[in-house]
């Protein structure tokens, strides 16, 4: 083999190994997830035009992403405009965890969303919280994408 071929092959190997190491992170981003937080719109419903009804979470996490905070700001605005409406925040987890811990995780996720709404002036007696743990998945599949759709806090009109 001549030198240029060797160099070309080495270069290909180098590129390939860089691509592979880039993919070896724990939380893969795809076009429907960021980290492993779902960013798609399938399963999302709307409380009003442009107001998504839910926010999503990373595995084992309860922190709100930037996208989640934007959704909740819109929900807060809608709730301020419709001051008679009360809501229930439903917290959920995916199936890749033990049942009781997931109940607690769902409760914590719903409260993350609630706390954020409170900072936008929504009164806490308009909001109640319930956790369903992993009992009410919207997607029964066993792929990371399915699981990401299930890790959510959903805002439901109570009245």
């Amino acid at each position: 083999m001549n030198l240029s071929k060797i160099l070309k092959n080495s270069f290909m190997v180098l590129i390939a190994s860089l691509v592979l190491t880039a993919c070896a992170t724990q939380k893969k981003s795809t076009n429907l997830t960021q980290g492993d937080v779902y960013t798609g719109t399938e399963t999302v419903e709307y409380l009003a035009s442009g107001v998504k009804d839910r926010v999503f979470f990373a595995t084992n996490e309860t922190v709100l992403t930037t996208a989640s905070r934007e959704t909740l700001r819109k929900q807060a605005a809608w709730l301020r405009k419709n001051s008679k409406i009360t809501i229930v925040l439903e917290g959920h987890a995916d199936e890749r965890g033990t049942r009781e811990y997931n109940l607690a995780l769902g409760e914590r996720r719903a409260n993350s969303a609630k706390d954020y709404l409170l900072t936008y002036g929504i009164s806490s007696d308009r909001i109640s919280v319930i956790s369903y743990g992993k009992e009410r998945p919207v997607d029964s599949g066993s792929t990371p994408l399915s699981w990401s759709k299930n890790r959510r806090s959903v805002t439901v009109k109570a009245n």
């Binding site: 084992n60 309860t62 199936e95 890749r96 965890g97 033990t98 049942r99 009781e100 811990y101 109940l103 607690a104 995780l105 409760e107 914590r108 409260n111 993350s112 706390d115 319930i130 956790s131 369903y132 009992e135 009410r136 998945p137 919207v138 997607d139 029964s140 599949g141 066993s142 792929t143 399915s146």
Partner: protein
């Protein structure tokens, strides 16, 4: 179904031989003990009476079948084929011809007699050491005819105890959640059955979500989580009367309940404002005590058998791990340190081990560790399984597993499984419907 029973225990000829036959249950048993379970002998009049009441043609054979199935499922015994038996039940019970039983390679033999007396079922049974040619045990008792299956379970417990030196686990029940429907809309009901799958009964109707039922040590009461009226709370259910009542008056979700070993308290998690802590409530005076006070999630509490310590699940270190503490909440100590997430800790009735669920690299494991966290041993691995519960003798674990036929989630099913502490004898526990969240009762006779 009324759960009345009446037992008179008469000990006949308690001849104690030194055991030539012995079954070691601490090691994986690859040589189950060959045992012959002779059908219990029964006179014609008794046969007719029992057939009338129970609709069973030969209750003597039925009872011995219960014994046989129990022994076989334990993995420690090999009940021999009845067709090979040379001696008839009536004769074998009086004085077996040990050469006949030796011929078919039986090392132990169970014989007995059942009789209809004063509207009741009276049973006598004997355990024989075939090699030594001696009687090892003889017992008799009386009960109502409808308890005939329990008679088989009690005989099994006595035989198991005599041959292994450990108490049995056959006269017990399992409470669990019966599941039906698609995963996105599962209908769940509380159900209870004998440990061998018979006498299944539903305890709730399926109108509200029910989860994680656990027996009281007295076996009459059950505690569980119900979403009645969309308010998830811990409830108490009396199995006999069907009466349900909410435990305490908490302003938020309570969940993960268990009884204290004396049956007097419920220990559980209470979630408020994103934080879950562990609380107890005394069932008599209704006093609520807070046990943990930490911003992390604290859940899945389980008492040690002497009631002095509690093991629980907490993410205070960042991820789900197992901790122990004194029953007053002091001296919290982490005991799980392996790679992965740990959950569902349950203290063994023997006090020596804590069973748990572990999640690592996408796989679920059922395992045990010593109460100081050393000696971690994983018993079984699966794509999805969790929630072990101990048999009352601390030798067998029951848990549940979910399977799907494809990654789309089709063909979803949940089933109960059991495995011995040795890691052997992993087997499916048959249930009419799909099932999850099993909890094992104590021995019913206690």
């Amino acid at each position: 179904m009324l759960f009345r029973y009446l037992f008179f225990l008469l000990i006949l000829f308690p001849i104690k031989t030194f055991a030539l036959i012995e079954v070691d249950i601490t090691r994986g048993n690859l040589n189950p003990l060959p045992i012959a379970v002779s059908p219990l002998s029964i006179d014609e009049d008794s046969k007719k009476s029992f057939n009338q009441i129970l609709k069973k043609k030969n209750i003597g054979s039925e009872i011995s079948s219960v014994v046989e199935n129990n022994l076989k499922k334990s993995g420690l015994f090999n009940p021999l084929n009845k067709d090979a038996f040379l001696q008839k039940p009536e004769i074998a019970n009086l004085k077996p011809r040990f050469e006949d039983w030796n011929l078919i390679k039986a090392q132990a033999l169970i014989t007995g007699k059942v009789k209809f007396v004063d509207e009741k079922l009276r049973v006598e049974f004997r355990l024989w050491d075939v090699l030594a040619g001696k009687e090892m045990m003889a017992l008799a008792f009386t009960t109502v005819p409808s308890n005939w299956r329990r008679v088989g379970h009690i005989i099994t417990d006595k035989v198991y105890e005599r041959l292994t030196g450990e108490k049995g686990y056959f006269d017990t029940r399992i409470i669990y959640v019966s599941e039906e429907g698609p995963k996105t809309n599962r209908v769940k009901k509380l159900a209870i059955m004998d440990q061998d799958g018979f006498n299944n009964k539903f305890l709730t109707l399926g109108n509200e979500l029910v989860l994680t039922p656990r027996f009281s040590p007295t076996n009459q009461m059950v505690t569980y989580l119900s979403y009645f009226r969309n308010l998830p709370r811990v409830y108490l259910l009396d199995i006999e009367t069907g009466m349900q009542e909410v435990v305490g008056d908490f302003p938020g979700m309570t969940f993960a309940p268990r009884f204290s070993p004396d049956g007097k308290k419920i220990i559980m998690s209470f979630a408020k404002d994103g934080n879950s802590d562990i609380y107890t409530m005394d069932l008599e005076n209704r006093i609520v005590e807070r046990v943990t006070n930490h911003p992390s999630i604290d859940t899945s509490p389980s008492f040690s058998p002497n009631g002095k310590k509690i093991t629980f699940n907490s993410d205070r270190s960042g991820y789900q791990q197992i901790y122990i503490m004194d029953s007053n909440g002091k001296n919290v100590k982490r005991i799980s340190f392996g790679n992965g997430l740990y959950g569902t800790p349950v203290w063994s009735p023997r006090g020596d081990l804590i069973a748990f669920t572990k999640l690592h690299k996408g796989k679920f494991y059922i395992g045990v560790m010593r109460t100081d966290g050393t000696g971690e041993r994983l018993l079984t691995e699966n794509f999805y399984q969790e929630a072990p519960s101990w048999s009352p003798n601390g030798r067998v674990l029951i848990f549940y597993r979910e399977t799907k036929t494809n990654s789309k989630g089709e063909g979803f099913s949940a089933k109960l499984w059991s495995i011995d502490l040795t890691g052997y004898n992993e087997k499916l526990v048959e249930t009419e419907t799909d099932a999850s969240d099993p909890s094992w009762s104590s021995l019913l006779g206690n």
